[in-house]
């Protein structure tokens, strides 16, 4: 795998990870009822 491939696919993986972490964080906060 070339350096360019690594850079692009790693960046995409990080963006997907950020989406998953946001969903997880949202569910956690709602369950904790910390926002009310």
């Amino acid at each position: 795998m070339s350096a360019w491939s690594l850079l692009v696919y790693a960046s995409a993986a990080i963006v997907y990870f950020a989406v998953a972490a946001t969903i997880w964080g949202f569910i956690r906060e709602v369950r904790a009822k910390d926002l009310d």
Partner: protein, 479 residues
């Protein structure tokens, strides 16, 4: 029309969910603090998502894909200015801003250090800055809807704006935060998936790179170094401590939450930009010669399967709506706090401030539509306000924040107002219309230098003098 029934259904469902979120958020608004800064209860993940949704608007997504299609990865070099700005702001400035106390706006921060005169100047400037950017997002929203439906621009723009004004006015910052969460998820997932599909269609990254002109893959492109510097500086300073970001710094529970939410967002933005640039470059191989502004929508139309196409168009709408709603909410808070309360009703009740926030959301939103549609000269003037942000407000703000311990007032309160005026005048005179940017130095850089120089001189001349009147630093509720 670019989309079929399934895609159109996905887009309509997205609109319905956003409106429902606005309606539900209305119940969380008990007072002005809820409307303006979400009751200062945001966890790190919410701050991260709302910052990301706000910053990755039409320019950072559709614009960046077009620019990389034209110029290549030099756009990444330039965009690093923004990443650097956000990471440094997150680590060093944002927590200090949050630590000052129960504030709402950049004007409040300037008032804390420099008194009423600087507060008023900053209030007027931030208001114009936010209204301008709202108009820009409205135009972008109209264009995306036009691409999707094929209907005329003006009615679509008015409909899109009315929708944004409605949910923002109903639920204030809570509606903006919850819709930003949804919009961030749809946007980041949709655009990244579109990029992966486009790269796959181009034969993978290695094959894509081998088919591109080497100039497109050069970090400096074919741009002269002065152009790279000018754009890097514009990214570094243009949205530094922008009013809608600072309002979010005050929405967390603690300065530490603000620090990590903003720093994580700054780092994320770099990776998102790489994905968008890869998407734009795949357009070079997949599309051949097309209008750069249409690269993203052409890839979506020609290479994405039904269903995903609707999701990505919803993502493009999310990009502009999440930026537009944040800026609209910000403009109404600036109007209520920095202009209405400061100039007309210093003793306004919480209920009164909340009422004015809601009313001003509607009027500012409607005013933004009118300015963008029918007053191009006024709009051009407003856009100039945006370029004046860095050379006017930023130097005295950053110096005050960084000099000494958090909350410590080291700079003479007399210094900010003359420094702001010097920065504005120098930027204007140094620019294209008068001196034509001598020595290749960007007007913004000259303005920042003049601002700092006057700040230093006035500080040295007045540091032993007691502040009074409009230069007396304002007190804040520190809790």
């Amino acid at each position: 029309m670019l989309v079929g029934t399934l895609d159109l259904t996905i887009i309509l469902v997205y609109f319905a969910v956003v409106l429902a979120i606005g309606y539900v958020s209305m119940g969380k608004i008990k007072g002005f603090e809820d409307y303006a800064v979400a009751g200062r209860r945001l966890p790190i993940v919410f701050l991260f998502a709302t910052m990301a949704a706000t910053a990755t608007g039409g320019a950072a997504t559709i614009g960046r894909a077009s620019q990389s299609y034209e110029s290549g990865i030099v756009m990444f070099t330039a965009t690093m200015g923004f990443v650097l700005n956000q990471v440094l702001s997150g680590l060093f400035l944002a927590p200090r801003i949050r630590a000052i106390g129960k504030l709402y706006t950049v004007g409040d921060v300037m008032g804390f250090y420099y008194g009423r005169a600087a507060h008023a100047l900053t209030g007027v400037f931030s208001f114009l800055y936010s209204v301008t950017l709202f108009g820009v997002q409205l135009l972008a929203m109209g264009r995306i809807l036009q691409t999707i439906t094929g209907l005329p621009l003006v009615p679509l723009m008015i409909a899109g704006s009315a929708f944004t004004i409605l949910y923002t006015g109903l639920g204030g910052m809570w509606a903006v935060i919850y819709t930003d969460l949804l919009q961030f998820i749809v946007l980041a997932f949709g655009i990244t998936t579109a990029a992966m599909v486009a790269i796959h269609a181009a034969g993978g990254v290695t094959a894509l790179v081998s088919k591109l002109d080497p100039v497109l893959m050069s970090p400096a492109g074919d741009w002269p170094s002065s152009q790279i510097l000018a754009i890097f500086v514009a990214f570094l300073l243009g949205e530094a401590l922008a009013p809608y970001f600072v309002q979010r710094y005050f929405s967390t529970k603690t300065p530490s939450d603000t620090r990590w939410g903003v720093t994580l967002f700054g780092s994320y933005y770099g990776f998102y930009t790489i994905v968008v640039i890869a998407l734009g470059l795949s357009g070079v191989v997949l599309l051949g010669d097309v209008e750069p502004d249409l690269v993203l929508s052409s890839i979506v139309r020609d290479f994405l399967p039904i269903g995903l196409r609707g999701l990505v168009f919803a993502a493009l709408l999310a990009a502009v709506m999440s930026t537009g709603d944040s800026i609209l909410n910000n403009a109404s808070v600036i109007f209520t706090r920095d202009l209405y309360q400061r100039f007309f009703r210093p003793s306004a009740s919480d209920k009164n401030l909340l009422m004015w926030s809601k009313v001003s959301t509607i009027f500012i939103g409607a005013g933004g539509v009118v300015a963008a549609l029918s007053l191009p000269d006024v709009f051009e003037l407003l856009i100039y306000t945006y370029t004046l942000w860095a050379p006017s407000i930023i130097p005295p703000l950053i110096v005050a924040l960084l000099w000494g311990a958090p909350k410590e007032r080291r700079v003479s309160p007399w210094a900010a107002a003359p420094a702001i005026v010097a920065g504005i005048v120098t930027t204007f005179l140094w620019g294209e219309k008068f001196l034509g940017q001598p020595l290749g130095i960007p007007a913004v850089v000259a303005g920042v230098a003049a601002n700092l120089l006057v700040l230093a001189i006035v500080h040295a001349a007045t540091s032993g003098r007691d502040p009074r009147g409009a230069f007396l630093p304002e007190e804040v509720d520190a809790s």
